[in-house]
Amino acid sequence: MINLQGVAAAGGIAIGKVFYLGKEEFVIPKHRITHEDISREIYRLEESLIDTRREISSLQKRIAKEFGFDHAKIFEAHLLVLEDRVLIEDVIQQIKDKKINIEYAFSQSIKKYVNILLKLNDDYLRERVIDIEDVSRRVMSKLLKQKEVNLRDLDEKVVVVSHDLPPSQTANLPKEKIMGFVTDVGGRTSHTAIIARSLGIPAVVGTEVATKNVKSGDVIIIDGSLGQVFVNPPEKIIREYKEKLVKYKKEIEIAHVPRALKACTKDKKEIVVSANVELPEELPLVVQSGAEGIGLYRTEFIFLGRRDLPTEDEQYKAYLTVAKKVKPNSVIIRTIDIGGDKFLSRPEVPAELSPFLGWRAIRFCLARPELFKTQLRAILRASTEKNIKVMFPMISGIEELREAKKLLEESKKELKKEGKKFDDKISVGTMIEVPSAALTADSLARESDFFSIGTNDLIQYSLAVDRANEKVAYLYEPGHPAVLRLIKSVIESAHKNKIWVGMCGEMAGEPLFAFLLIGFGLDEFSMPPPCVPKVKELIRNIKFKDVEKISQKVIDLATAREVEKYLQEEARKILKDDFERIIMR
C-alpha cells in the first residue's frame, strides 16, 4: 500500500478504481524507408485519414444534437483539412523525396503550415492553428494506434488521477462518472479544487507524486477532508473507510434537513447565505443546498472549451436561464475574469510571466470593449427578471470602475435605441480583491451599489503568495492579521456609505472564519453549494452580539495561529457539543 498526504481540497470520501489521465503527447518515431515501402506508407496515411473522417463526422453529429448546429460547423473545416490536397501532396512528396516514415512526414508538414499561420498578423487566423493541430492529433493517434483520452468516454465510475486538470478538460466533465480527483499540483484555491467543491466531488490536490504511484485500475481511497490518499490499501483500511463513508453521508443528510430555514442569528440578525456557481449543471445543487440565490456566477465557462466567442444571444440565453431558476432570489453575475489560472485558448491572451499581475479580468475587458459590451448587453437583456446584479472583478482603482460603468451605460443606451427591454436600475457591484481597492474602499463605495470581497485573490495579493506554488503555499493564511484588518476596514467603509457587502471567496464557506466574519458585520456569504447548510446552521446557533465582541478582540492578535486558536476556543464555548460537527467537521 502507498499512503500519500496532499492538500484537502474538497471534502468527502471516495473508494474506487483509479483512472490515470496522462498528458497526451505523442512520441513521433522517425526512420528511413526504402523505395518499396512508399506505397505502404501512403496506404497507411489514407487509412488513417478515412478513420479520422469517420470519427469527426460522428462527433459533429453528436455536438449538433447536443449543442446545436452552430457549434458543429467548425468540424466542416476539420473535415476539409483531412482531404486537403496541398497538405496531402506535401506529405507524399516528403515520403518520396526524403524516404521517411509517414508519421514523421505528416508531423513535418503540419508543423510547416502551423508555422506559416503563426506568422500571420491576424489573431483570428492564427487561432486556426488549434484546428489544424486538433485534426493532426487525431490522425496521429490513428497512425500510432494510440487512443486519445476523453473523460466523456469513461464507462464506469472512477477516481481521476492526473498531474493537473486543465480548465478546458473540466469544461465538459461527466460528473456522474467521477468519484474523486487526485492531482500532483495545486492548492485549495486551484482550479481543480474549486471545480471539485462546486460539483460536490471529493478531491485531494498537491500530492506532488500521485501520478508516479498509480496506474489505471488500482484501488484507491481518498479522504478529501484530511487530504489523505491510499493506493491499493489492505482490506482492513477499506473496511474502515467504507464505515466512514456511511457516516459521512448521514452527516450530510442531517445538515441538509433544515435547509428551508432562514439564516438568522439567535438575536434576529438576518444574513444572506448564497452560492457560488461555475457550471449550469450546478443549479439543482444550489436549490438543494438551501442557498438564497447566487452570490457569484462565474461566466468564464461560457467562454472556455470552445473555439469561437459566444454570441450575445447565446450569453443572454445562459444568463436568463439562471435568473429564472433562482427567482425570487437574485443572482450576481461577475463579468469575465479571464487570465490567471483560467485561460482562454486563443492567441488573444498571450502567455505572461506573472499572469496574476497581468492582463486579466477587468483590464482585459476594458482593452476589448467590443467583447466586454457583448457580455454587458447580454446581462442587461437577461435582467428583465429584475433579479440580476452585475459585478466587476479585479478593480484596482476608481478609474477602472468608472470606465466599466461607462461601458454599461453605453450598452443601456444602445439597447434603448433598439427597443430592447432591461432593468434600468440594475445593481452594480465592485469586487474587492486587490489590496489597493480594499484600501480605497471608501471612494469605491460611493460609486458602487454593493461590494463582494474576493478573498482568494485578496489574500494572495496582500501576502504576496502564489498558492499553487507548494514551496510557499504555507504562507497563504486567511487568518493573517493583515488580511483580517483589510476585510474589517472594507466592511466598515461599505457600511459608512450605506451599501451592503458580501464575500464570495473561499473564506466565507469556512465555518471558523464565517464565525468571525459575522462579527465583523458581513452582510452576505457566498460559497460552494455543499458548504451552505453548515454555515446556515452556524448562523442559527450564535448571537451577533457575542461574535461582534469576539471579532473586536481578534483584530489585535498578532498571528494567524493565535487568531485561529482564539476563535476555536470561543466557538467551542458558544456551540458546545455542536462545535466539532459544525466547525471542525
Binding site: 466542416e76 473545416a77 486537403d84 496541398v86 503550415y113 498578423n121
Partner: protein, 88 residues
C-alpha cells in the same frame, strides 16, 4: 479553355477564417475549374483550406480570384458573390 481573373475586396467579418474558408473550398470543389487565390503576389490552390488560411486574408483585403476551365465563368461568379458578401 477559359480563364477569368477578378479583383475582389473580401467583405466577411473576420476575413477568410476557418468557417468561411471552408465554405469557399466547398463551393470551389463543386466546379471542374482550377481555382487559385492570390494576395500580395502569392498564389495558392483555391481548393485547399490550409493554403487559403496561410494567405491570411483579413476583412477588406484585396485578392485576385482566378478560375481556369470549361466552367470558369460560373465558378468565378459564384465565388466572387461569396467573397463580396458578409457571410459570417
Amino acid at each position: 479553355m477559359e480563364r477569368i481573373e477578378s479583383q475582389i475586396i473580401v467583405n466577411s467579418n473576420h476575413g477568410l477564417h476557418a468557417r468561411p474558408a471552408a465554405v469557399f473550398v466547398q463551393i470551389a470543389n463543386k466546379f471542374d475549374s482550377k481555382v487559385s487565390l492570390a494576395k500580395d503576389g502569392e498564389c495558392v490552390d483555391g481548393k485547399s483550406i490550409i493554403a487559403i488560411l496561410s494567405l491570411g486574408i483579413n476583412r477588406g483585403a484585396q485578392v485576385s480570384l482566378i478560375a481556369e476551365g470549361r466552367d470558369a465563368k460560373e465558378t468565378a461568379d459564384e465565388l466572387r458573390k461569396f467573397l463580396e458578401s458578409n457571410n459570417d
